[in-house]
């Protein structure tokens, strides 16, 4: 167990270092999310009240598109030089490989979100009123779900033709409950509501989604990686 966890950490750290040196998907995801934020501001000419009602949705669309770019690279990064085969053949258990990939994905997506969130605040004149860190908290819970499901399907589609197209087609519908919850909570926070009172159910939904899919993924990952 301890060995598996430290192996997972090594894999996550390896991925993060590779990514931070090349910044290939990070740069792409950050610039992509900025472009989408700008495009949205043209697409919707919003007054303050209107903005409040849809800001949560806007923000999560941006995060979702950007995270598809990140998780897509998760396993396909290992394809050149047959690194994936070596990784699977190594004595590291399958769940460690998956967990490492999910942690790396989580950190990278969070980085993109932490960059685009202030930009979103500037472009759309958001008054955070202390909601910023609560939104980051909600984002962290939701991002873990995206990273887990994203890593599973990154592994599933790694050898698939048209991988970049197939991943979103599968990933987005599965993430719908998670996105619903994240959008509701973010919207509530921007409206200065608490996420615990009436919105507690959404928070529980996010946590339940994370738990269900993390355990399902850890359980099924060996079947995915051996083929």
């Amino acid at each position: 167990m301890n060995y598996g966890l430290s192996a997972a950490w090594s894999i996550a750290w390896k991925d993060l270092r590779t990514e931070l040196r090349t910044k290939e998907s990070l740069n792409a995801a950050v610039s992509f999310s900025l472009v989408v934020l700008v495009l949205f501001s043209f697409a919707f000419d919003l007054g303050r009240e209107e903005l409040r009602s849809i800001a949560g949705g806007l923000l999560w669309m941006v995060f979702l598109f950007a995270s598809a770019l990140i998780v897509n690279r998760g396993f396909s990064r290992e394809l050149p030089n047959d690194c994936l085969d070596v990784l699977v053949a190594s004595p590291v258990p399958g769940w460690s490989i998956f967990l490492g990939k999910a942690i790396a994905g989580f950190v990278l997506i969070m980085m993109v979100e932490l960059i685009s969130l202030p930009v979103f605040g500037i472009f759309y004149n958001i008054h955070w009123d202390g909601a910023f860190w609560m939104i980051v908290f909600v984002a962290a819970i939701a991002t873990w779900g995206i990273a887990v499901v994203g890593s599973v399907f990154s592994a599933v589609t790694v050898n698939v033709r048209l991988r970049e197209l197939m991943l979103p087609v599968i990933l987005y519908p599965i993430l719908i409950p998670l996105l619903l919850g994240a959008m509701q909570l973010t919207g509530a926070l921007l409206n200065r509501e608490s996420i615990f009172g009436d919105n507690n159910a959404w928070l529980r939904l996010l946590i339940a989604f994370d738990l269900i899919y993390t355990s399902l993924a850890l359980f099924l990952i060996d079947f995915i990686l051996v083929v």
Partner: protein
């Protein structure tokens, strides 16, 4: 033997369906509130029932494939999902037509409609993924994983949007509320039976095609190896 089963199932299912359509259109009176359009119920609900049964069978097939690595289970799962996705589409389209007449709109984002649509999209993704993988074991494993994930997702979606919009426009399930008049019950269950039989026949046809395709595939591989 197999062909006989297909023909028998299909024939009995079609005969019941024809008989039922006759009853529904010629014998049953218009409903008091809805007029003639309520008849869509006899297509709409059986299609959903057939789809749900097949999705469940597909889930069992997917889990069994992962456990036993027997391709017969993969063929079963994919045949079921293909037919079920078509029936889900029938369910969505008939529901949409009914909604246009009764509500004046084609679509409403409420609980049942949304979860059924997402169900359709998830399994459509499944059907899109399959042809994109060349290696049979890989294809079967990935399909099985996706089928399990999709099956887990639908109850979550259903719950999630129930909180979001409890004011559902969709009529309450006729069976639970007892909203079905006694003379409608016979045709309703006959409709369900006919859809199940027909979908069974379709699955068997697809199953046969899948098996044949796999056999041809392995022969082709063997020839290549030589």
């Amino acid at each position: 033997m197999r062909e006989k089963t297909v023909y028998t199932l299909g024939l009995i299912g079609s005969l019941i369906l024809l008989y039922n359509l006759f009853t529904v259109f010629m014998v049953l009176p218009d409903e008091a509130m809805q007029g003639a359009i309520y008849r869509i119920l006899f297509i709409h609900v059986p299609a959903a029932f057939a789809a749900w049964i097949l999705y469940t069978v597909a889930l069992v097939g997917s889990v069994m494939f992962l456990v036993k690595k027997d391709f017969a289970y993969d063929s079963m799962a994919t045949s079921c999902i293909e037919v079920a996705t078509m029936f889900t589409l029938v369910n969505l389209v008939t529901g949409s037509i009914w909604g246009r007449v009764m509500w004046g709109i084609w679509w409403a984002w409420d609980v049942r409609l949304t979860s059924q649509l997402i169900c359709f999209l998830l399994y459509l993704g499944y059907l899109l993924l399959r042809p994109a993988v060349n290696e049979p074991t890989q294809r079967a494993t990935m399909s099985a994983i996706l089928s399990i994930f999709a099956f887990v997702d639908i109850p979550i979606v259903f719950m999630a949007i129930r909180w979001h919009d409890a004011r559902t426009q969709h009529p309450a399930p006729v069976l639970e509320t007892g909203g079905l008049a006694p003379e409608f019950k016979g045709p309703f269950w006959l409709g369900v039976l006919s859809f199940i039989l027909i979908s069974g026949a379709m699955v068997l046809v697809r199953l046969h095609q899948e098996n044949t395709r796999r056999e041809m595939d392995s022969v082709r591989r063997e020839v290549h190896a030589l």
